[in-house]
């Protein structure tokens, strides 16, 4: 049973003006509960436009979005309830912080859902443990934190709403390697803890290889490929034609292969590569 189904979604910007163009063209796909989906695509391929439809921030020009089999626009007054079920973390979410304490900023989402103060407090402590915000941070001003910490607080603000589906638009953009690893871990932990469905937009193929079960490839507003991460990364030539690429370790393996060394083409993470190369060493030099 798919939790989210997108049917023939088309979004036209600036309709009836000379600037009219389709940002998303006839996109259909469905996602099962608990899956982690990576969305990749060249800049301007319609990724951000696509995900803003999933929680009703944008209304499709054509097509529909079914959440648990029900059109999200079936009852217009319910759209805020839909937004608490489908969380969306925008790019650079730290720019949306506004409260005077971290606690109150994280509480903004749950409060809008109409939860009781006790329930809000419970959720905040839960999410802080999950994402690694220390308790004594809760009374600080979010503007006194470092960039990576701000990002963590902003993401916690959406996670505290405990959405069944959570969407991240380039969650690691502009972070240092430590911050990136933290955010990826947060996302992983959240999806495991709540059996949540996750969609991540990212340009970083290494992160995608680590975290995504499936990849959704957008090209010029159209859905180009939707398949398991392994099957997508196998089509490296097609990806390169779309201005995308495969993880660096896969590129290394591919160039080894071009040099005539027989290596498998399903190595996408450094760990896989290490394992494979070690097994070569143990099994004797087959090719080298």
């Amino acid at each position: 049973m798919s939790i989210l189904e997108v049917k023939n979604l088309t979004h036209t910007y600036d309709g009836n003006t000379p600037f009219m163009h389709d940002a998303v063209k006839n996109v259909s796909f469905s996602i099962s509960k608990g899956e982690v989906i990576g969305i990749i695509g060249h800049t301007g391929s319609g990724k951000s436009t696509l995900v803003q439809h999933l929680n009703g921030l944008l209304k499709a020009t054509e097509g529909e979005i079914l959440l648990d089999g029900v059109n999200i626009w079936e009852n217009k007054k319910n759209i805020r309830a839909i937004r608490s079920r489908v969380g969306l973390v925008f790019q650079y979410p730290e720019y949306q912080l506004f409260e005077d304490t971290v606690y109150r900023d994280i509480a903004f989402g749950p409060k809008n859902m109409g939860l009781s103060d006790d329930e809000i407090a419970n959720r905040i402590y839960e999410v802080c443990d999950l994402v690694g915000i220390k308790r004594d941070y809760l009374d600080k001003s979010p503007f006194d934190l470092s960039g990576g910490e701000k990002r963590r607080v902003a993401i916690a603000g959406v996670m505290a709403m405990q959405p069944e589906i959570i969407i991240f638009d380039e969650p690691v953009a502009g972070l240092d390697p430590q911050g990136r690893a933290n955010v990826i871990k947060m996302i992983n932990d959240y999806s495991k803890r709540y059996n949540a469905t996750v969609l991540i937009i990212s340009h970083n193929m290494e992160d995608m290889a680590l975290i995504a079960d499936k990849l959704l490839v957008m090209n010029k507003g159209e859905l180009a490929i939707f398949d398991t991460t392994e099957n997508v990364f196998r089509q490296h030539e097609r990806l390169i034609r779309m201005g995308l690429n495969v993880p660096i370790v896969t590129q290394v393996m591919l160039s080894l292969k071009q040099k005539g060394i027989d290596v498998p083409d399903n190595i996408f993470t450094v760990d896989q590569a290490v394992d494979y190369l070690l097994s070569l060493k143990q099994g004797g030099n087959r090719n080298a």
């Binding site: 803003q52 937004r83 608490s84 973390v89 925008f90 720019y95 506004f98 903004f108 989402g109 809008n112």
Partner: protein
């Protein structure tokens, strides 16, 4: 929504009016506004109107654009007409025709003519000002203002003029950026369940806080970044700066000035004779 706001409303074209020097257009706008106000009778107003309409044709801007502009000022127009309709004025001429509505509100042929005259003046004012913004980019306009105000340096205001022009340029440049930013923050807060559309007035005002605070913070951040970027490129005010695009008057400008001066002289003559 927010993106419908188009400030300045410049319309790209290569018409005669577009190609005029922005200083010419700015000065002529001032002169034409003065002409509209010194026109005391229908004949001179008709001359100004002819001048404005012919410039509209030369601007190659669709008439529809001008009409859209008028819609916004319709209430002011109607208000002016009604006030003038019932205002007897200081004229000593006896009306040929008059109609008492009720109490002592009386319409005469003189007041009727004055009401239409006033409305026409406002219409012409709006059309001619709109034409300036339709045919001149905001940046060209600030350049023109800086250039025209540059004589102020003789009274020790050189830096003030340059700073003012730079501030205007920056403000205009960042309007679209800020609109985009506002839209983004609104979406982000809506995704966190913020309700911006419903509720009583007080609730709606409160709902603006999560948008205004991030917007304010990011504006300050942008200002710092821009200031640093300008300093990195050795910006230190107007002293010794030259322009890549120099403003230059050419034959078209002199020709246009000439026509406007002829019309202006005629109007003054008509005012004296009649």
């Amino acid at each position: 929504m927010l993106k419908d706001i188009t400030f300045g409303q410049y319309f790209e074209s290569k018409s005669f009016v577009h190609k005029l020097d922005p200083r010419t257009k700015l000065l002529l706008l001032l002169i034409i506004i003065i002409l509209i106000f010194i026109s005391k009778n229908w004949l001179s107003l008709l001359l100004v109107a002819l001048l404005i309409f012919s410039s509209m044709i030369f601007s190659k801007i669709p008439i529809k654009m001008y009409l859209k502009n008028l819609k916004a000022v319709l209430p002011i127009l109607i208000f002016t007409m009604i006030i003038n309709l019932f205002y007897a004025g200081s004229t000593t001429a006896t009306p040929k025709w008059s109609q008492n509505l009720f109490w002592n509100l009386t319409i005469t042929d003189i007041s009727l003519s004055r009401a239409v005259f006033m409305a026409s003046r406002i219409l012409l004012l709006i059309i001619v000002s709109a034409e300036l913004t339709y045919t001149t980019t905001p940046n060209d306009l600030t350049d023109a203002i800086e250039n025209l105000l540059s004589p102020l340096r003789f009274i020790g205001l050189k830096n003030a003029v340059h700073t003012l022009a730079m501030m205007m340029t920056i403000a205009l440049r960042f309007i679209p950026t800020l609109i985009e930013e506002t839209q983004k923050i609104m979406n982000a807060q809506k995704a966190r369940g913020a309700d911006l559309e419903n509720g009583k007035l007080i609730e709606r005002i409160k709902a603006l806080i999560p948008i205004l605070i991030p917007l304010l913070i990011s504006s300050v951040r942008r200002a710092y970044e821009l200031a640093e970027a300008m300093e990195c490129r050795c910006y230190n005010g107007g002293e010794g700066r030259i322009r890549m695009k120099q403003l230059k008057y050419n034959f078209d400008d002199f020709f246009t000035f000439l026509i406007v001066f002829i019309v202006g002289a005629t109007i003054i003559a008509i005012n004296i004779i009649l």
